[in-house]
C-alpha cells in the first residue's frame, strides 16, 4: 500500500504542473521606481532588498540607502503592485504603487528594528519557506556579518557562541583542524552527533576522516569547512525535531541550512576584503626544568652508539648553569593567515549573478612551514527569468583545499608526545646527528650510521615537523541547478538537482627511524565522495481573506551517496625517499566502497488564522537502503502552532510583541552503512597493543567470521521532541526575549550491542538505546541606547541541557566509537548517566548508597565492605581510604568518573556604533563538564610535568596533597593512613599517581571556561572624496582579536580541545593534542 501511495504523490506532483497555465501581459513604456531606505534612527540602510515580487523585479540599496528599479514596458499596464522591502534585522515593509506607463515613482521607507525577525522570509528546508512569525519552533539564525566578524576560516567555528544550545568545539588551533557542532546535547551513540549541512537546498558532506585513525594521525578538516564564509548570506539552525522533521531520517542531530549570497538587479557591486591574521599559542603545558633525564634520582647517560635511554626525567637535580629548554613553547612561533575575498554581484531585471573568489592561506604556529592549510574557492550563482514566472537558477562552487599536517595524539611519531616527554636539558632542535645526519631523539641520542631502521622510541618533535610529509588535497565541486515556476498565481513549482563531488588525496608518512615504524611507512590514497540529490516541490497558496490563508506543499526527494576509499599502506622504504609506494617492499590495502540511497516524499500544510495563529503540519516518509530489509520505510511527522497573541489585543508600549509557540515532531538518524550485514573478513587478528597477524598466511588465503552478527530488523533512530516557548518584544521591540523549553527522547538509538564473546560474535547492531535531552534556552537582545548617530546593542544567550541515557537494552554500558581506545578513560554511554561519560578506575572511597562498593584493601583476597568501614570511621561521603602506609589504593571496579557535558553554556555579545566607528565583542561561556587530561597523567609518569617538582617532599594525602592536583582542591580522607607523612616521589608518579596506572579519575578536570572569543574595532568610511579619488563606495578598516583570553581552571592546554575533533562524538579527550591559538587580525574592505 505504501509504494502505491508514493507513486500517487509523484503523479499528483505532475498533475498540478499540467493543470497550470500562465497569462501574458501587454507591452507598454517602462516605469522607474526610486527611493531611499533609512532606519528609525535616521541612518541609511544598505543592502536592503526592494522588490516587486509579482513581477520578479528587485534591487538592493546602496551605501546611501538609495535604490532604483526599472519595470520594463512589457510588464506595465497601469496596474497596482506591491513594493516590498526587506532586510535582515529590520521589520519588512510594503507599499502599494500604481505602475502608469512612462512615469518615475519615488517611494522612501523608514524601517524599524526587528529583533524577533517577524515577517522575514525564512528558508525552512527541503524547498519550503515561510515567514518568521509562522514558525512554531524557536528560530536560530546567524547572518553574514556575524560570520565574517568571527574571523574563522571554518564556518563551524564561526557559529561558536552565536546560538543558544548550539555547542561548537574546535579540535585544536592547527590550520585545517576540524570543529564539532552539537545541537541540544548528544543524541546518538554510534554516530558523530554532527548535524546535516544543507547549502541552498542541497545536502553536502561534512565528514571528518583522519588518514590513519583519529587518536593518532593528524588534525583533519571537517568538510563543511570547504565553504567560503564570504559566500554565506545566512545560516539557519534547525534545532528541534519539529523543525527538522522535513529532513526525516537525516535530521536527528539537527540541520544547518546555509543560504549563499545572491546578486540583485541594479548596479554591479564589487567587494574586496583582505585580512592578515597573526596567530600565537594561547595556553601551554606546565613543564618542570629542574630535574634531568634518569630514574631513581640518578642521571641517565650513554655515550655508546645506538644506546637507548629511559623515557623519564626522574634523574638528578640539574647542576646550576645546565642549559634547559622550554619544550612547552619552543616549537611554537607566530603563525599567519592571509585571507582575500573578492565578490562581484549584480544583474538586471531578468538576470542576476553573484561571483566570488577567495584565497585563505594559513601557516600554523609550529616552526617551519609544515603546518599549513590553503583554500581557494570560486562560486557563481545566477538566476535568469526565462519567461514570466519561470526562473532558472544555478549555483556552482569549486574549492581546492590543501593542507600539510603534523601527526598528533597517542602516537609515538606525534609531535607533542616526544616533545613534552623530553627532559628539560635535551635540546630537541639538535635533531640531526652531526656525524651520521640521522634522526636523534632524547631516548636515542647517539645514532650510528647503521641505525637507519632503528626506532627512536619517541620521535624528536623537530623530526616530526621537518621530515614527515602528511598532506591532504581536496578538489570539490558542489552546487545545484534548478527551476522555479510560478505556474499560476497560487501554485509554485520548484525543482532542483544538486551534486557534491569531492576527491581527497591523502599522504601520511613515517620516514625511516620513526618510532611508529622504523623501517619507514607511507599511506597513500584517495577518498571520493559523490552525492546527488533531487527535490521536486509544489507549493500552493490559497488566500481566503485578509489574514487567512492556506499553504500546501508536496515534495519528493531522491538521494544517492557514493563513497569510495582506497588507501594503500606501503611499509619498509627501500631508499629513505621518495614517499612513493614503489619505494616500499610491502603493501596492505584498505579498499572500501559504499552506496546509500534514499527515497522520500513529504508534505506540509500550513494554515494562517486571522494573521495571528499559524498551524503547520509536516510529514515525511523516508526510505533508506541503510534500514534493515524489514524496515525499509519510516514516517516522520511534526505539528507546530504559533500564536502572535499581541495581534489579538493591543498589549501597549511595554510589551509590544508577544508570541507563543508549541511544537511536537519526530526526526531520525539513519543507521551506518552496511551495519546490518554479516560477512567474512580477511583482515588482521590482533592483540591488545597493535601486534597483529593477517588472516592470510604462508601464501594461503584466510577468512574469519566478522564479529558483527547480521541484523535485518534495523530501523532509524527516532527522536521525539516537544518544544514550547515565548517570544516577547518590549518597548517597541527595542528589547526582545525568547524563551524555549524542550524535552526530547531519542528512541531506538542504534549501537553495536556488545554480545558475549562466547557467542562467537562481538557485536550486533540494534535499536536498543533511549536517550533523553531536556533543556531550557533563552536569548535576550536589547538596544539600550539608540540615536541617529549612535547605537548600542547587547545580546545574551543561555542554554542548559540535561542528558540521560535512559535505557541500553542488553548491556549496562557501551563505548562510543574510538571512545574505547584509552583504557585509562573510556568514553561511554552508561545507563542512568549522561552520554559520553568517562569510565575508569578510582581510588577506594566512600560511596554512600552504592552496593557495589567493595575492594580488597588488606590484600587477604577477600573484598571488604568499604561503606561499612566509612560508617565505622564516621567518614564523609566521598572520603578516600588511606592504607596503613598513608597512600590511597585503587578500586578494581570500573566506574563513571567524569561527565563532559556542560552544566550550562552562554554568551554575551555587544556592539557599539558611533557614526563610522563600531566596537564589537563576544564572550563565550561554558560552565562545568569534565575533560580528561591524559597528557598530564602521562607527563606525571615521565616526571616532566611541573607538578612533579615536589618529588622528595613529605606530604599528607588530603591535607596538603591531592592526587592529580597537588596545589589545590579538597579531598576528605579516612583510614589507618590518615594524617601519616608520606614522601611523594617517582614511585608515586609512576605507580598509582601515573596516567598509565589504573586511576584515571585523578585526571578528570573542570572543562569550564569563559572566553573572549571576539573583540573588534571597525571604522567604515563613506564619502564623496572616496568616490572621486579611489572610485569606492565605502572602505572599512577593522582591527580584531580572536580568542584573546581564556579564563579556566583547566591545567592543560585550552579546555576547548578534542583529540579526534568532529570525527567522533566522544568529546573532551586531551592526550597530546595540539594547542589552541589566539589571533590578531587586521582587515581592509573595499566596496564599490
Amino acid at each position: 500500500m505504501l509504494p502505491i501511495f508514493r507513486k500517487r504523490v509523484w503523479v499528483a506532483l505532475g498533475a498540478v504542473v499540467l493543470a497550470a497555465t500562465t497569462t501574458r501581459a501587454a507591452a507598454q513604456q517602462p516605469v522607474t521606481v526610486t527611493g531611499r531606505i533609512t532606519s528609525e534612527a535616521g541612518s541609511p540602510v544598505e543592502g536592503a532588498v526592494v522588490s516587486i515580487r509579482s513581477l520578479s523585479i528587485g534591487a538592493s540599496t546602496r551605501a546611501d540607502g538609495g535604490y532604483e528599479l526599472v519595470v520594463p514596458g512589457s510588464n506595465v499596464s497601469g496596474q497596482s503592485v506591491v513594493l516590498d522591502v526587506r532586510r535582515i534585522g529590520l521589520k519588512p515593509d510594503t507599499a502599494i504603487i500604481v505602475l502608469s506607463p512612462g512615469t518615475t515613482i519615488t517611494h522612501n521607507f523608514v524601517l524599524s528594528a526587528n529583533p524577533l525577525q517577524l515577517g522575514e522570509v525564512v528558508i525552512t528546508g527541503a524547498g519550503t519557506q515561510t515567514t518568521a512569525e509562522r514558525i512554531g519552533t524557536v528560530r536560530t539564525s546567524v547572518d553574514s556579518s556575524l560570520i565574517i566578524q568571527s574571523n574563522e576560516p571554518n564556518i563551524v567555528n564561526a557559529l561558536a557562541g552565536k546560538a543558544a544550545g548550539v555547542n561548537v568545539a574546535s579540535q585544536s588551533g592547527s590550520p585545517g583542524a576540524s570543529a564539532s557542532i552539537v545541537i541540544r546535547g548528544l543524541n546518538t551513540i554510534q554516530g558523530t552527533g554532527q548535524p546535516l549541512f544543507v547549502v541552498d537546498g542541497t545536502p553536502i558532506d561534512n565528514t571528518t576522516f583522519s588518514t590513519s585513525g583519529n587518536t593518532g594521525s593528524t588534525d583533519t578538516p571537517n568538510r563543511a569547512s570547504d565553504i567560503n564564509p564570504d559566500d554565506i548570506e545566512s545560516v539557519e539552525i534547525l534545532k528541534s525535531a519539529a523543525a527538522a522533521a522535513i529532513y526525516g531520517a537525516r535530521a536527528g542531530q539537527g540541520v544547518v541550512l546555509i543560504t549563499t549570497k545572491q546578486g540583485h538587479a541594479g548596479e554591479t557591486r564589487y567587494t574586496l576584503r583582505s585580512s592578515v591574521r597573526r596567530d600565537e599559542v594561547n595556553r601551554t603545558i606546565p613543564l618542570q626544568r629542574t630535574y634531568g633525564q634518569g630514574t631513581g634520582g640518578t642521571a641517565a647517560t650513554c655515550t655508546r652508539l645506538d644506546c637507548t635511554l629511559t623515557g623519564s626525567s626522574w634523574g638528578a637535580r640539574l647542576a646550576p648553569g645546565t642549559p634547559t629548554y622550554d619544550h612547552a613553547r619552543d616549537i611554537y612561533t607566530d603563525g599567519a593567515t592571509y585571507d582575500n575575498a573578492l565578490t562581484v554581484a549584480g544583474g538586471n531585471n531578468r538576470t542576476t549573478f553573484f561571483l566570488s573568489g577567495a584565497a585563505t592561506n594559513q601557516n600554523g604556529i609550529t616552526v617551519g612551514n609544515h603546518d599549513e592549510y590553503n583554500r581557494y574557492s570560486a562560486r557563481l550563482k545566477a538566476t535568469h527569468q526565462l519567461a514570466t514566472g519561470l526562473t532558472l537558477n544555478a549555483n556552482i562552487a569549486y574549492v581546492d583545499a590543501r593542507g600539510q599536517f603534523l601527526q598528533k595524539g597517542s602516537n609515538t611519531s606525534g609531535v607533542n608526545l616526544g616533545n613534552w616527554r623530553s627532559p628539560p636539558e635535551f635540546n630537541n632542535f639538535d635533531y640531526i646527528d652531526p656525524a651520521t645526519g640521522l634522526h636523534r631523539s632524547y631516548r636515542f641520542p647517539n645514532p650510528s650510521a647503521a641505525s637507519q631502521t632503528t626506532s627512536r622510541i619517541y620521535d624528536n618533535p623537530l623530526f616530526v615537523i621537518n621530515d614527515q610529509d602528511n598532506t591532504q588535497q581536496v578538489g570539490r565541486s558542489f552546487g545545484n541547478v534548478g527551476a522555479d515556476w510560478l505556474a499560476t498565481p497560487w501554485l509554485t513549482l520548484h525543482y532542483q538537482i544538486g551534486a557534491d563531488y569531492a576527491s581527497d588525496e591523502r599522504l601520511e608518512t613515517l620516514p625511516m627511524t620513526s618510532a611508529g615504524y622504523p623501517q619507514g611507512q607511507l599511506i597513500r590514497g584517495t577518498l571520493v565522495n559523490n552525492q546527488l540529490d533531487q527535490t521536486l516541490t509544489a507549493q500552493a497558496i490559497k488566500s481566503w481573506r485578509d489574514g487567512w490563508d492556506t499553504r500546501f506543499t508536496l515534495g519528493g526527494n531522491l538521494n544517492s551517496r557514493e563513497y569510495s576509499q582506497v588507501l594503500v599502506t606501503g611499509q619498509n622504504l627501500i631508499a629513505p625517499e621518495p614517499f612513493n609506494l614503489q619505494n616500499t617492499t610491502d603493501y596492505t590495502t584498505n579498499d572500501f566502497h559504499s552506496l546509500i540511497r534514499g527515497q522520500s516524499v513529504f508534505g506540509q500544510l500550513q494554515q494562517a488564522i486571522g494573521d495571528q495563529l499559524f498551524l503547520t503540519g509536516t510529514v515525511r516518509d523516508d526510505g533508506f537502503s541503510t534500514f534493515g530489509s524489514s524496515q525499509r520505510y519510516h514516517w516522520f511527522p511534526s505539528g507546530t502552532a504559533a500564536w502572535t497573541f499581541s495581534n489579538a489585543f493591543n498589549p501597549g508600549n511595554v510589551l509590544s510583541t508577544g508570541r507563543l509557540r508549541v511544537a511536537f515532531g519526530e526526526a531520525g538518524t539513519e543507521p551506518g552503512v552496511y551495519i546490518t550485514n554479516g560477512f567474512y573478513s580477511g583482515g588482521f587478528l590482533g592483540g591488545s597493543y597493535g601486534d597483529a597477524l593477517q588472516a592470510s598466511q604462508g601464501g594461503r588465503g584466510g577468512l574469519f567470521t566478522s564479529g558483527r552478527r547480521p541484523q535485518s530488523d534495523l530501523g532509524p533512530e527516532v527522536q521525539k521532541e516537544f518544544e514550547t516557548g515565548l517570544d516577547l518584544g518590549f518597548w517597541n521591540d527595542r528589547s526582545s526575549l525568547s524563551l524555549t523549553y524542550y524535552n526530547r527522547r531519542n528512541e531506538d538509538v542504534i549501537f553495536d550491542l556488545p554480545l558475549p564473546f562466547s557467542t562467537g560474535f562481538t557485536v550486533q547492531a540494534a535499536n536498543a538505546g533511549t536517550i533523553r535531552n531536556a533543556g531550557f534556552e533563552a536569548q535576550w537582545n536589547i538596544t539600550p541606547y539608540q540615536t541617529a548617530h549612535a547605537n548600542w546593542d547587547l545580546g545574551f544567550t543561555y542554554a542548559r541541557n540535561r542528558n540521560k541515557v535512559l535505557e541500553l537494552r542488553g548491556t549496562d554500558a557501551v563505548d562510543l566509537p574510538t571512545g574505547g581506545f584509552f583504557t585509562g578513560a573510556l568514553v561511554s554511554a552508561v545507563e542512568g548517566h549522561p552520554i559520553g561519560v568517562f569510565r575508569s578506575y578510582d581510588f577506594v572511597r566512600c560511596r554512600a548508597g552504592d552496593a557495589t562498593n567493595f575492594a580488597d584493601i588488606d590484600g587477604d583476597g577477600t573484598p571488604d565492605d568499604i561503606n561499612a568501614l566509612c560508617g565505622a570511621a564516621g567518614a564523609a561521603n566521598g572520603s578516600v581510604y588511606l592504607g596503613p602506609d598513608g597512600f590511597p589504593i585503587d578500586d578494581p571496579t570500573l566506574r563513571v568518573v567524569g561527565d563532559p557535558n556542560p552544566r550550562w553554556t552562554g554568551s554575551v555579545r555587544t556592539g557599539f556604533q558611533y557614526g563610522p566607528f563600531k566596537v564589537t565583542g563576544l564572550v563565550d561561556i561554558r560552565r562545568g563538564g569534565d575533560i580528561w587530561n591524559g597528557t598530564k597523567g602521562a607527563l606525571y609518569n615521565f616526571g616532566t610535568h611541573r607538578d612533579t617538582e615536589i618529588r622528595g617532599e613529605t606530604v599528607r594525602f588530603g591535607e596538603n596533597f591531592i592526587p592529580g592536583n597537588p596545589k589545590n582542591g579538597h579531598m576528605d580522607v579516612f583510614g589507618p593512613g590518615k594524617g601519616k607523612d608520606v614522601v611523594i616521589d617517582e614511585s608515586w608518579y609512576t605507580g598509582l599517581g601515573s596516567g598509565f596506572g589504573p586511576v584515571a579519575s585523578q585526571f578528570m578536570e573542570d572543562a569550564g571556561y569563559v572566553k573572549l572569543r571576539e573583540i573588534a574595532v571597525e571604522w567604515t568610511f563613506k564619502g564623496d572624496w572616496l568616490k572621486r579619488t579611489l572610485g569606492l563606495g565605502a572602505l572599512d578598516l577593522r582591527f580584531a582579536g580572536r580568542n584573546l583570553a581564556t579564563w579556566t581552571d583547566y591545567t592543560g592546554i585550552d579546555p576547548e580541545t578534542n583529540l579526534a575533533g568532529a570525527e567522533v562524538a566522544a568529546q573532551n579527550v586531551d592526550y597530546f593534542n595540539n594547542p589552541q591559538t589566539r589571533s590578531w587580525i587586521l582587515t581592509v574592505g573595499l566596496h564599490k
Binding site: 507513486k7 567474512y680 590482533g686 597493543y689 604462508g698 577468512l703 562467537g760
Partner: protein, 444 residues
C-alpha cells in the same frame, strides 16, 4: 506552449522516477556490502584458525605469563603496572574474544562442520586439535569458561567448570587421535601451515597435549595424572617436529613478540632477572639465544616493575621478525616424560629424558637428577611460552619473590569485561575467585 511542454517533461520525469522507485532502495548495488565476502570455504576458514592460534599463544597471554614467571619484566607504563600485577578488567578483552570469535571457536566449528559433512576425518581431527588448544589456554588462565554452550544459539553461554572443560578436552583429543588413525579423508594438505597435513605429526601433538592437560589437573588428581601424562608423552612429539607458531619476514606475518618489543611498544619489556640470573649461574648457552646484551655489553634482567629501563637486556627475537615461536616442543614433551617418570618412580627414564634435552641444548649430562633439575630445565625451555605460568602454579618452581606489595603471583586472569558486561553468568571482579579449580594453593 513552451510552458506546457516543460510541464509534460516534468510529469514524465516524475512518473519515470516513481516507476524506478521499487528497485531504487532494494537493488543489490544499494544493499549489498561490496567490500567483504559473504561466504568462506573450509580452507580459508582453516587458515584463519591457524593464524588465530599462533596469535593466542604468542601475544598478550604469552607476554603476561613471561612477566609473571619473571622470565621477562614489564618496565614501562601499562607493562610496568602489569609487572606489579595491576591491570584493568579490560586488559584481556582481545585474548578472551580470540577464543571464540573470528578465527576462534566460531570458525573452528565451521571447519569441523564442513570437514565432517565431507567425511574428511583427517581435516576434522586437525580442526578438533586446534579447538582443544584454543579452549585449553582459556581454561588455563580463566578457569571456568563458556564452552558447552559457547558459539550456539544461546545468547548468554554458561560457565562450565574448569574440571569439566579439561575432561572434555581429553575426550576430544581421544576422538581426534582415533579419527587420524582411521586414515580417511585427504586433510588440509599444504593449507596446514603447521604440519603440512601430516596426520602422524598431528597425532603425536595430540598425545603431547593430552600429557600437558593431564599435568594441569595434577594438583587435584595426584599420581593418576602423572601416570597418564607419562603414557601420553611417550607417544608425543619427536625431535624435529616441534609445533611452531606461524611467522614470516613480512609485516603481515611478523612474530608477535617482535611486533611488540620492536615496532609497537619498545621499552615496555626487558629480560627478567630471575631467568637471566639462572642462566648465568648455570652457564647456560641459551643466555644469548634468548637475550641480547644491554648498552654496557652485559646481560642484566629486571625485577618486577623496575622502570630503570636503559640498564636491561632485550630479547633476541628483536633481531628475528620471522622467528617461529615454539608453542609445543619435543623438549617440553621430553621434560613431561622426565617429570612424570620422576614422580612415578622411574628414575632411569627421568634421567635419560632430561639428559636428552640437556644434550640437545649443549649442556653436560647429569648423572643423577633431582626434581628441581627437571623443573629448572622446563622453566628455561618454556621461555616466552604461556605454559610456563601453568607449570609455576602447579610446581611453585622457581621460588619467585612476588612483586613488591603483593603476597603471591596471580593465579588467574580476571574475566574480560567485554564478556562480563553482556553475559550475566560472569561474576563481577570482586566475586571472581583468586585461583582456579586446578590450582587451589598459592605458592607463597
Amino acid at each position: 506552449m513552451r510552458n506546457r511542454m516543460l510541464g509534460q517533461l516534468v510529469v514524465a520525469a516524475a512518473v519515470a522516477g516513481s516507476a524506478a522507485c521499487s528497485s531504487f532502495l532494494d537493488a543489490p548495488e544499494a544493499v549489498a556490502n561490496p567490500n567483504q565476502p559473504t561466504d568462506a570455504g573450509i580452507n580459508q576458514q582453516f587458515v584463519a584458525t591457524q593464524t588465530a592460534l599462533t596469535l593466542q599463544y604468542t601475544s598478550d597471554l604469552a607476554r603476561t605469563a613471561c612477566i609473571w614467571v619473571q622470565q621477562c619484566a614489564g618496565t614501562e607504563r601499562q607493562y610496568g603496572q602489569l609487572g606489579m600485577y595491576d591491570y584493568g578488567e579490560d586488559a584481556y578483552n582481545s585474548s578472551f574474544a580470540q577464543v571464540y570469535t573470528g578465527g576462534g571457536l566460531i570458525d573452528i566449528k565451521g571447519v569441523i562442520d564442513k570437514a565432517d559433512a565431507a567425511g574428511d576425518d583427517a581435516y576434522g581431527a586437525i580442526a578438533r586439535i586446534i579447538e582443544v588448544m584454543q579452549i585449553g589456554i582459556a581454561a588455563d588462565v580463566w578457569g571456568d569458561i563458556p564452552f558447552s554452550q559457547a558459539v550456539s544459539d544461546n545468547p548468554a553461554p554458561a560457565l562450565d567448570p574448569q574440571e569439566d572443560v579439561y575432561a572434555a578436552l581429553q575426550a576430544t583429543l581421544d576422538t581426534a587421535i582415533t579419527m587420524l588413525a582411521s586414515g580417511s579423508g585427504a586433510g588440509p594438505g599444504s593449507v596446514d601451515l603447521y604440519y603440512g597435513g601430516d596426520a602422524s605429526k598431528w597425532s603425536r601433538l595430540a598425545h603431547t597435549l593430552k600429557a600437558r592437560y593431564a599435568l594441569h589437573v595434577a594438583e587435584r588428581e595426584g599420581s593418576s595424572a602423572y601416570t597418564l601424562a607419562l603414557a601420553e608423552a611417550q607417544q608425543g612429539i619427536q625431535p624435529g617436529d616441534d609445533f611452531l607458531g606461524i611467522a614470516a619476514d613480512n609485516p603481515q606475518s611478523y612474530n608477535a613478540w617482535y611486533q611488540f618489543v620492536v615496532i609497537q611498544r619498545a621499552g615496555y619489556m626487558f629480560a627478567g632477572r630471575e631467568l637471566v640470573d639462572l642462566l648465568q649461574q648455570r652457564h647456560d648457552p641459551r643466555l644469548d639465544e634468548y637475550f641480547v646484551e644491554n648498552d654496557n655489553g652485559e646481560f642484566v634482567g629486571a625485577d618486577p616493575g623496575d622502570a630503570t629501563s636503559s640498564e636491561f637486556s632485550g630479547f633476541w627475537v628483536e633481531n628475528a621478525p620471522a622467528y617461529r615461536q615454539p608453542i609445543v616442543t619435543w623438549q617440553e614433551n621430553s621434560l613431561i616424560v622426565a617429570e612424570a617418570a620422576f614422580r612415578t618412580g622411574n628414575m632411569a627414564l627421568a634421567e635419560s629424558s632430561l639428559n636428552d634435552v640437556r644434550q640437545a641444548v649443549g649442556l653436560p649430562m647429569l648423572g643423577s637428577v633431582t626434581l628441581e633439575d627437571i623443573l629448572a630445565e622446563k622453566y628455561i625451555v618454556l621461555f616466552q611460552n604461556p605454559e610456563a605460568w601453568s607449570d609455576y602454579k602447579r610446581t611453585c618452581y622457581p621460588d619467585l619473590t612476588p612483586a613488591a606489595g603483593a603476597q603471591a603471583v596471580p593465579g588467574r586472569l580476571l574475566y574480560a569485561v567485554g564478556e562480563r558486561n553482556s553475559n550475566p553468568n560472569v561474576p563481577a571482579p570482586a566475586e571472581q575467585p583468586a585461583r582456579n579449580w586446578n590450582d587451589p594453593n598459592a605458592c607463597n
